[in-house]
Structure formats: structure tokens, C-alpha cells
Symmetry: C2
């Protein structure tokens, strides 16, 4: 990894260090390899621990490094392209959908969700929890909110709880004619329940995808899906596989 | 803001503190208001500075707080919904497009971009820099890569540099029949040039949107757009305005 001293460089030290570290990751480390500890790395590059940590945080945000519980900091594999919303015409749980229904229970949704669903302030809705696995890893956790009015024929005795109940809700939802859907993507931090499902620590950066399913001229269901921001690149469109990574510094001159 | 002591709570302290702080933001603070300093906040809630900082970082990721240079930590307004890719059939620079062309120069693209564009390893392409302003704030910075083969009639003497050159490249690009586009969204950290354009510090979390424009059976142009993750919620679809915020804790029981 060399012994370049960074003391004399005019740009922010952590920024230059990040570039140097990024090149070292490309040339000297294999995917999955554990980095030397912070003290050794800081000494090798002649920087303070705080500077090193800033550079490591940048590389983690960019998906080049992963911090794993009980393992340390490892070199991350390229992010997985995970298709979001290629099928504008299908409900959650349609054939070919790679989400696993985990559970279903009645719950009062958060105020903003209730507003979108036009349910009363203390009205219970069906919630369905699902997880999505890609390449053998959990990549997303979803909470789907379905007002009773969208699934009027669902009975409590049919399948009272668990994955069977979740499938029953999705099956009933599928009877409605889907008119369209829209989505929003934003940065968030993993809530404790999602973090557990995604094998991350609470508070890890996640991409939150909110999808509104429209039927009968209103929002018939609303999904809040939390994707791991470290391992996922969300893809939209028919092709769905833009193989561009953002690790290395842009060379625009 | 109360004086609740958090010593006896079993869940991670910063997590509970985040929830308590979030409620305080809703009830006691106005948008734009500056939070008390870290020492005062830590003392008030009976937590260590490190715990407080973790909670503040979470709230920043979730878009509830903003750290602003020379100002301090302020209560953030709700994120802006910024439409991405509602028009599947238009080139960058189409009428109604709210991007401002800033500059254009020839450059060798990064290796992964060159691969997508099928240009040679040291081949120059046209780059166009644009910025997007929404509600009076810069929300995104874009670097668009256009191979010479996509704009064969562009001449060097026409408009040699600056915004006029950028507009000339876009005008030539518009002559091609656009066959489709696909997109990927991922987490990144702001590069120095983008950070300047977005009024952020280098390394701030950003949402990187990569768009591939398809014409003549190949990738005729490729855009890498960097959106502020703190202020933006990217919207997809015809409706384009899912008004769901993720600040408050989900109440799923």
C-alpha cells in the first residue's frame, strides 16, 4: 500500500487519502479482504486517525468498503443491480416477484401513510411484512399498508396470522384492477426491525422506496421498502442493468 | 424539551434519544431554527456527547436536521419531491427541462462510462455540465457524456466553450431518435466539484442517478446526476408526488 506521506497536499487531506485508498483497494486488495486496523493504516499514510476515519466513511458511502459486525472493515463487492418498478402493471405478490411474505397484522399506520390512504386517524389497516433476497443476501425489507376497503372479502378466520395471512391479503388485493403506481426514493436510516431483517445495525444508511398503488381512483395500498444502501443499486426501466459504478474518482479533464 | 433521563432504557440509547429528539423537533422547534449546542443537549437528556452525536447523525440521514456551514444544526424543512424520468421520450435539454447548462468540454470518461458508451480507452467525448435548481435551491449537478459519434455534425468553431457550447451539444443530440432510457439510483458521496455546485461539503451523502439514453441500438449518451440527499426525494411515475415523509418513527403495532 506504499508509504506516501500526505502532509504536503493542498486539498482536504481525507479527500486525497480517499483517492489513494481507493486506488490501493483496486490494485492490492481482493473483494472480501479485511483491511488492516485503523492505527496501522493511519501510521502508514502519515495521517491522524480522524482523517483516516473520514476517508473510510466516504468509501463506505460509495459502496467500496463494508463494515461488518464482528468482522471489521472489508472490501465490498460491486453493488448489485436490484430492479425496482419494471412492471408498472402488477400488484405486490404477482408471479415472478422475488419478495417473501413474512407476516401480517392489523396496525394503525403513521399519520402520513393514513393521509395517503385516506383512512381515519385511529383506523386499523392490514400490514404485510415482506423481505427480498437477491444473490442469497437480504437486500430489502418492506411494510405494505392495505386498508380494509381494498380487501373487503378478507376474513379473519381464513388465515389468522403469519406468512399465510400475508399471502391471503396479497391474493385479495390482486382482485382489484391496478390503475398505476408511482414511486419516491430517498435516503433514510434503518429502523431497528428493518436493520434486523437486513443484517445491519440500526441507523445504517438505507434507500427508502415509497410506492403508491392506485386503483378505483385512489391509493389502494402503500408500500415502504427499505433497501440496503451499501450493497444495492436500484434500477428503473426496461433494461434495468446500468453497469456503472461510482467508486473511482471521475476523470473529467 | 424536557429533562427525561435515558439511563434506564433497555434499547440502544441513541436510538431512543433519536425518537425523543424527533418528537421534540415536531412539537417545540420551527423549520430553520438552530438547535442548542451539543453540550447543552447532552446535559439536558443525560447522555454522553457521543450518544447525542449518533442520534443527530440519524436525524440528519432522515432529513430532519441539516448541518450548515457557519450556521450550525438547524431543523430541516420537509424534503422536496424532485421528478426524475417522468418523460421517457425526451433528451436532456428538451423544452420544460429545468436544468441549466453550465459548461462543455472534451474529456476522457471514466473506464466504466467508456465501456457503456463503447468508446476507446483514451477517446475524448463531449461532456456537458448542468445544474438543476428547484424552489430557488441547487438540488442536483449533472455530468452528461456524449460520444462524438452521437453528434457527428457538431463543429468546434460553432460555440467553442461555456453554456453556448453545452446548448450546441444538446441541440445536436436532439436530432437522434431516442429509443428509450434506463436509470439506476444509488448512494454516493459528493465529489469536490459537485459539492461546490450543490453548496455542500465534499463527501456529503448524495443520491447518484445514472441514466443511459438509447438510440440507434446503443447507448448514445450517459448522464451521471448527483442529487442532494438531505433535501431531495426523487419521484418516479406520472403522478410524481408521493407525499410521505419518513421522519417520525413508524407505529406498526
Amino acid at each position: 500500500m506504499g508509504t506516501t506521506q500526505l502532509e504536503s497536499v493542498p486539498e482536504p487531506k481525507y479527500w486525497h487519502l480517499k483517492t489513494v485508498l481507493s486506488e490501493a483497494l483496486d490494485s492490492e486488495f481482493a473483494v472480501g479482504e479485511i483491511l488492516p486496523n485503523e492505527r496501522d493504516l493511519a501510521a502508514r499514510f502519515g495521517v491522524a486517525r480522524a482523517t483516516l476515519r473520514q476517508a473510510l466513511e466516504q468509501l463506505e458511502l460509495e459502496g467500496r468498503l463494508q463494515r461488518r459486525r464482528g468482522v471489521g472493515t472489508t472490501v465490498a463487492p460491486p453493488r448489485m443491480g436490484v430492479a425496482v418498478g419494471t412492471d408498472r402493471g402488477s400488484w405486490p405478490g404477482a408471479p415472478g416477484d422475488d419478495w417473501q411474505p413474512a407476516d401480517s397484522e392489523p396496525a394503525v399506520p403513521p399519520a402520513d401513510v393514513a393521509r395517503a390512504l385516506e383512512t381515519g386517524p385511529d383506523e386499523l389497516v392490514h400490514t404485510v411484512r415482506r423481505t427480498r433476497v437477491s444473490h442469497g443476501q437480504p437486500v430489502a425489507a418492506e411494510l405494505l399498508y392495505v386498508p380494509s376497503s381494498s380487501v373487503p372479502d378478507l376474513t379473519a378466520i381464513d388465515a389468522p396470522a403469519g406468512p399465510a395471512r400475508a399471502r391471503a391479503v396479497l391474493r385479495e388485493l390482486d382482485r382489484l384492477a391496478l390503475e398505476g403506481q408511482d414511486r419516491a426514493v430517498e435516503l433514510g436510516s434503518a429502523r431497528a426491525d428493518d436493520a434486523r431483517a437486513l443484517d445491519r445495525l440500526p441507523g445504517a444508511p438505507v434507500l427508502v422506496v415509497t410506492t403508491r398503488f392506485l386503483a378505483g381512483g385512489r391509493t389502494a395500498a402503500l408500500s415502504v421498502a427499505t433497501y440496503r444502501a451499501d450493497t444495492c443499486r436500484l434500477t428503473f426501466g426496461d433494461e434495468g442493468a446500468v453497469e456503472i459504478h461510482h467508486g473511482p474518482e471521475r476523470q473529467a479533464s
